[in-house]
Symmetry: C2
Subunit: 595 residues, 2 copies
């Protein structure tokens, strides 16, 4: 059975030594997050994920969710009890304002706990994860009544949340949504239509499910400008939260899918279900984007989470499995063979994954801190620049962390040889589960277009120029440090590639927008490598300060891994640049029928 | 349901226009392979795969194989009837000498039919595929009696074959094999032990199963030098082939695995089973390597096969699925949205896969022709150089074609968005099935070590120098052609990277062999890109000759795809070189406990 150990120490190192979370103490909620409180919370969350959620991961995969003829859905054995513990632990509302029953603590803690939960049991973690997204959308766009009715119930875990966008004829292109909303005399709406791919759409974990649904009000314009967002509860609540009659929304079927079997992916049928408008009429997409942006960061976290747990198991196997001898001579002559970790090609895999994991975790925490500044700071300028950065990094985190998270799960599986392909070892489940984050919440190609088509040019390129400026200044400053020079020099070269690529778009994509589309995915990955490289420099700088006093070897391991990243992963930036600069011509030349 | 159309026209173009198969007419069997015979065989094989095997692919995945308490195994519905058709079509023995009931035709035809079968139904195709491997081993190493007893039955499909190497404690490291063989007075041996991961180990498709088993004769040396190869039939045959009593070998269980559910992956228990020695005592590994090399080419073909069928389905979906508008303005203003093939990022995926598929198919056919020269030519010098090339290219084909075949299946799945994750669309099965070729018949890391550690230096580097020389001469010759120059120039640069990497190993891996291990996987992929690029140049040169008269657009599509390959895929060679040249230091520095 797979192992999992929550990387609590690494998170604490990042928060304390790399990002100096104490410097944010002026933000609301951060004063409560003292070092010992954070350590206690993460320690407890880690133990829960290791001891309760991880052992249920394979059970969930094997049993899946079952729909009964009455439309009810049963989750796998043990999920209900585990969900109750999540609720009792208060994990859902760690960062939700206290007035709604949350703890108001930094978002970085929520993202960390979510990482632990997704490593231990991704299909399970999606239930509270989607609730958090729904809370975020209602916090920002709900009426006062909606907030006070729904959010405390969701924080308490009594009600869970979903997002309902996709329909059979529309995924990426939400302008094609057909689900209808008809205004009723009492101000509510009757919602009619079918939604597909609704994660956690129906289940037995909580007494109610709060669906956030995109629909088109009768007579509204076509396209995305005619979409409105509605809150549609499974069971109708009184204003005080007492549950009444069942609403006309039901699960029509459960999808059979590649992975995340423990999460119910539902076809949801709305047959004149009662809903209430969230945000203004025809402004539903903007409101839904709040939820989607929250969700996109969360999906990036899933990419990291699966890469982390896959790494831990591959590393353990590589130390246990005796097979062959080191090319430089037997290392354990007394054993029938050496453990396979003596082989450079096995280490290449392990180093590649850990070089991703630590930097990806840093990137998420850094972005979470920016997110808190954007939402909590009393300084408008700080809020603006943090929000710029959040918007810029969200598609990078979603796209790059899930692409590489999946690739890493596949590499970790490879360490097991044939055993990696066999269900009982658990590695193939990680691969199947890790595949969906590349697709949902906007397929990664869409993330790349969001980055290149929207985020780069927004506000005259303000966000990207600020980030490039920060990195350039950092590189210049650190280059004077002999220990840091071997790291910031390659980063500077990679940043140069990113800047060249950015310039190339500016010069070549205005007249020929296909040039932007043709280079978008490469640009996103080029961007990701540069910011991960930047994270490694910051990690290394912090590790450098502690390495002399560190008996554990952990700080030295970070310095070695940083070097590995620069030598082995950053060189890819040149290939991305070459592809981007080759433009769209050879992609667009063939007629469709030639494919 | 997934579609599949066998790429017969492309194969004919490669055999006739690119490789001029008629020039090999002096080889035994090739005179029978006239253009119309080849076309008729491939056409018939294609129709069979499209019409019979492809519709059974999902059935096989859903039902899997079932083991009964008596140890018998039932294959999925329809497999028996389809297998009968494979047998009746004579597909198993296309390239087996006529004296054993085969057709003696070129190996290129066998590889092509195997590609079609694996595209249509990989789990099914493994049953005849393993039989072909067993035939190859017996042809080369069996006694005259063994050949005449077993091979005709296997060609006729009455008996199938397996290879039994892996045991729980040994996969890559066959020196750890514990299965024992005890010599009997009649010259036979009693085999005792347990083998795992035995594909097609037990089934209901044929009346007998011929197991080729590696075991250690009592008193033999430890390690691989004490291994012998045995033929162990499931049912004991009389010398004339009449079946007698059941042998003491049985299927203990079937593995539950990620994919290829239609193929029974068995634990095989040998309880004093009767076997006969193949090849000399303690020379089993060399004999098994014949089968493994044959199998490795076949596994490379599987990588291509899944990439091809995944491509076809993704291309079709991209032309059908209406979603969003072209960035340059609506292409189908009368429809609610444009088909997604208008988007450059979707085309990037499709072009990447097709740029692999066509060149990979060329590489396989070219290698198959070399294989026939190596085995059939009456000129010793020709045999030697063809055998050199076969040995050099085998690990590249196995490793690179399966790594990229899997990556391509994943990319093709991405084109489907959420539908790609749902079982009914079939794409997720392609991904699960495509994962195993990277692992079995020697995990791809082992292929890389075989290439770098064995094949490069063999006979003073004769094979690699001959190939580099041929490519250099070709590049020089074609550079004078204005149409070819834009293709051979980037190939020349990539070949330069490959030569630098080769030189770097020569200079840095003798004293520090970890430097070879650390760069092996990158070197294999660098090698693969260069030979695929060489294939594209040869395809383009042939297409160039026909493009003026080609009304179908197919020749122009090849020229565009060749350019795409050079612009988008070859730039990766520089990153591989940089990684190789970074050496082993940052991989080997950490102690095992730091992982």
């Amino acid at each position: 059975m797979p192992v999992y150990k929550a990387p609590v120490e690494d998170v604490l190192f990042l928060l304390n030594d790399v990002f100096h979370i104490e410097r944010f103490a002026n933000l609301p909620g951060f004063a409560d997050a003292s070092a010992d409180v954070v350590e206690a919370i993460l320690g407890e969350a880690g133990r829960f994920c290791e001891g309760v959620l991880a052992p249920l991961n394979r059970v969930g995969d094997r049993q899946g969710c079952r729909r009964s003829d009455d439309g009810s859905v049963t989750t796998p054995e043990g999920f209900k009890q585990a969900y109750r513990q999540v609720v009792d632990g208060g994990w859902i509302g760690i960062s939700v304002p206290q007035e709604y029953g949350g703890l108001g603590l930094p978002t970085a803690l929520t993202q960390t706990v979510n990482e632990f939960m997704a490593s231990a049991n991704m299909a399970f973690a999606m239930y509270p994860g989607l609730t958090q997204g729904a809370i975020a959308a209602l916090l920002r766009h709900g009426t006062a009544e909606q907030k006070s009715l729904y959010i405390p119930k969701m924080v308490a875990g009594d009600w869970t949340g979903t997002m309902n966008l996709t329909e059979p004829q529309c995924g990426t292109d939400l302008g094609l949504i057909r689900t209808k909303a008809v205004r009723q005399p009492d101000g509510s709406y009757k919602i009619t239509g079918a939604k597909i791919f609704i994660s956690a759409g129906e289940h037995d974990l909580a007494e109610n499910i709060v669906h956030l649904v995109l629909a088109r009000i009768e007579g509204a314009p076509e396209g995305t400008r005619g979409l409105s967002l509605f809150v549609v509860p499974k069971v109708m609540p009184d204003p005080d939260g007492t549950l009444g009659a069942r609403n006309a929304v039901s699960c029509g079927s459960i999808e059979e899918k590649m992975g995340i079997h423990g999460n119910a992916t539902c076809v949801m049928n709305y047959d004149g279900a009662t809903g209430w408008l969230v945000a203004e009429e025809n402004h539903g997409l903007q409101a839904m984007f709040v939820m989607m942006n929250e969700a996109r960061l969360g999906v990036g976290v899933q990419g990291l989470a699966l890469s982390e747990v896959a790494y831990q198991n591959a590393a353990q196997y590589a130390k246990d499995r005796l097979q062959g001898r080191a090319i430089t001579g037997a290392k354990f002559a007394d054993k029938p063979a050496d453990p396979i970790i003596v082989h450079p090609d096995v280490r290449r895999i392990l180093m590649t994954i850990r070089a991703f994991n630590e930097a990806a975790r840093a990137l998420i925490l850094w972005t979470a801190l920016n997110s808190d500044v954007a939402h909590r700071s009393d300084n408008a300028k700080d809020r603006e620049s943090a929000d710029d950065r959040l918007g810029l990094l969200t598609p990078v985190i979603k796209g790059v962390l899930t692409d590489l998270g999946f690739a890493n799960a596949v590499m970790a599986q490879q360490v097991f040889g044939g055993h990696g392909y066999i269900a009982e070892w658990g590695m193939e489940q990680f691969v199947r589960d890790a595949r969906i984050p590349m697709i949902y919440e906007g397929a990664n190609g869409i993330q790349a277009l969001d980055l290149v088509g929207r985020k780069l040019g927004k506000d005259g390129g303000r966000a990207v120029m600020a980030l490039f400026g920060e990195m350039q200044a950092y590189i210049k400053e650190q280059a004077a440090d002999a220990a840091m020079k071997p790291l910031v020099e390659p980063l500077g070269k990679a940043l140069g590639h990113l800047q060249q690529a950015t310039l190339w778009f500016a010069q070549n994509a205005m007249a020929k927008p296909d040039n932007a589309g043709a280079g978008a995915t490469d640009y996103m990955h080029l961007f990701g490598l540069v910011v991960l490289g930047y994270m490694w420099c910051r990690i290394a700088a912090a590790a450098q300060r502690r390495v002399a006093d560190d008996k554990s070897g952990r700080m030295n391991a970070k310095l070695v891994t940083a070097r590995f990243f620069m030598e082995r992963m950053l060189p890819e930036t040149a290939a991305h640049l070459a592809r981007i600069q080759s433009g769209a011509a050879s992609l667009m030349e063939l007629p469709a029928e030639a494919f």
